[in-house]
């Protein structure tokens, strides 16, 4: 019985595997040729790899023992946390109405089109690029980091939430509308219950991602531990670099555990 079903399965996969259409084959070949070409442009050479790996080994040796004693780590990490919290809160608060406006099943075409454009704009630029611009606009410090990550949050939560709203069942909304409920009540009873679970997932992921990014925007002067890390790098203080990186990893891991707990509470 088992063997028979196994045989069936392997026949199917083989047939699938060996009989792609001509177009597909050409696409595969084209992708492969491109990759070889792209690899060539990176300037790989054996000599370079050998040297690089040598440096890498020296790096890793320089990391030990990691240095946690410096008093710069805690304030930097705390500032990263502040940036992550505030940007997640502000970003989500702004993303909710924008996502509702962007949902094509709730809004007229021109409204959703404008809101989608705003979301695309926020999504297109990496937080670090926004951070550079923000640093130029509001100066060095945490504010620039908050602005940068708020932009990213609007883009991320706005996009996913508007897609989640567009996928909800119209039947449930129809039923709530039929009771004579107002628009806001239709949102509260017809839309929110259908997207709440996914929304919590998006926000949890967003906070996680803001936490990781808040440790990075400091490299361009937008506050947080990133600045400390960058300067440690520049003065070749690799023990300190290792200490900071381990702290960041620890922070992100704590965040992931908290995330699981919060999702369970709201399930």
């Amino acid at each position: 019985m088992n063997v028979a079903s196994l045989a069936d399965k392997s026949i199917v996969t083989r047939a699938d595997f060996f009989a792609p259409s001509l177009g597909k084959r050409l696409a595969y070949v084209a992708v492969f040729v491109y990759l070889v070409y792209a690899a060539a442009t990176l300037g790989l050479s054996l000599d370079r790899i050998e040297k690089g790996v040598g440096y890498g080994v020296r790096f890793l040796a320089g990391f030990f023992p990691p240095n946690f004693t410096e008093t710069d780590i805690i304030p930097g990490l705390l500032e990263s946390l502040q940036i992550a919290f505030l940007s997640s809160l502000i970003g989500t608060a702004l993303a909710i109405p924008i996502a509702v406006l962007a949902a094509r099943n709730l809004m007229p075409v021109w409204v959703s089109w404008l809101a989608r454009l705003l979301i695309i704009f926020c999504r297109s630029f990496h937080p670090v690029i926004v951070a550079i611009i923000a640093v130029k606009a509001v100066g060095f410090g945490a504010l620039a980091g908050i602005i940068a990550l708020t932009f990213a949050s609007i883009g991320f939560v706005g996009k996913l939430l508007s897609e989640a709203i567009e996928e909800i069942s119209k039947k449930q909304i129809e039923a709530v509308r039929a009771t004579g409920a107002s628009f806001m009540n239709v949102i509260a009873y017809g839309v929110v219950p259908q997207v709440m679970n996914r929304f919590i997932g998006f926000v949890a992921y967003e906070t996680d991602s803001n936490l990781r990014n808040s440790t990075m925007v400091g490299v361009v002067g937008a506050g947080g531990i990133g600045g400390t890390l960058f300067s440690a790098f520049q003065r070749f203080d690799y023990n300190f670099v290792a200490g900071i990186i381990l702290c960041i990893i620890g922070l992100v891991m704590i965040g992931e555990v908290l995330q699981i707990y919060v999702k369970r509470v709201f399930r």
């Binding site: 088992n2 990176l42 919290f85």
Partner: protein, 268 residues
Amino acid sequence: MTSASLEMQRWIRFTPLQRLARFAVFFVMAAAVAWALKTIEIIPEFLYDAPEQVVDMGSRMWPIDWEHFWPAVWPALVETMHMSAMATILGLMMGIPVGFLAAGNATPFLWVNLIAKFILVATRSISTLIWALFFVAMFGPGPLAGALAIAFHSIGFIGKMFSEAVEESNRGSIEALQAAGATRMQQIIMGYWPQVLPTFWSVALFRWDINVRESAVLGLVGAGGIGMALNAAIDLIQWQRVALILLTIFIVVILIETIVTQIRKKVI
């Protein structure tokens, strides 16, 4: 009335324990935000000044310096595209094995799972920019360092998606293979791989889309691509060129996203 009230039933939406848990979460969140607002160092003058500064910056960006495109921006853009494509392939090559090692059903050794999971979290926690600092120090400035940086950062995401897909895959066909005496490697190739193939395509496309965005910033630390052009323009305070580069990034990102959506619709 009195007889009715005797029969009154209470309706509460959550049990007391659920209420307590929800309240705790909200309380902690509110406390965290309050703490952050209270202690964060923001210079108010900077905040009030911001709108004026933004307007000023915008006015200096106009007119856009189109002349700059072919000599400087286009080659950098091509480099960015190469970098992100290589990074995606490398990331898949490294992330997929780790993903299989992290999945409890494909690799039934708890300590291997834990180590693999740690690798996934660690690679993801270290941002691309920091990976780039390492690789620039190792291999010198240029797109090689950039491609490696993005590839190492993507291990976490790719591996996580894969280990989740593997853990959700159907037991039946794996048991059939075990019954037929397949080795672990054969089980992975014949049993799990066909089941996670859709995940492979969607993760590859999704990550490529992200990696294009990522590779646009790596030039800031010397790791090649359009970020280097951006950095140069900002350092030289050439705002009209900055505007051109930002516009280019915007258009490329939208194009890529459109392409990815189209491929997804057709393939998956």
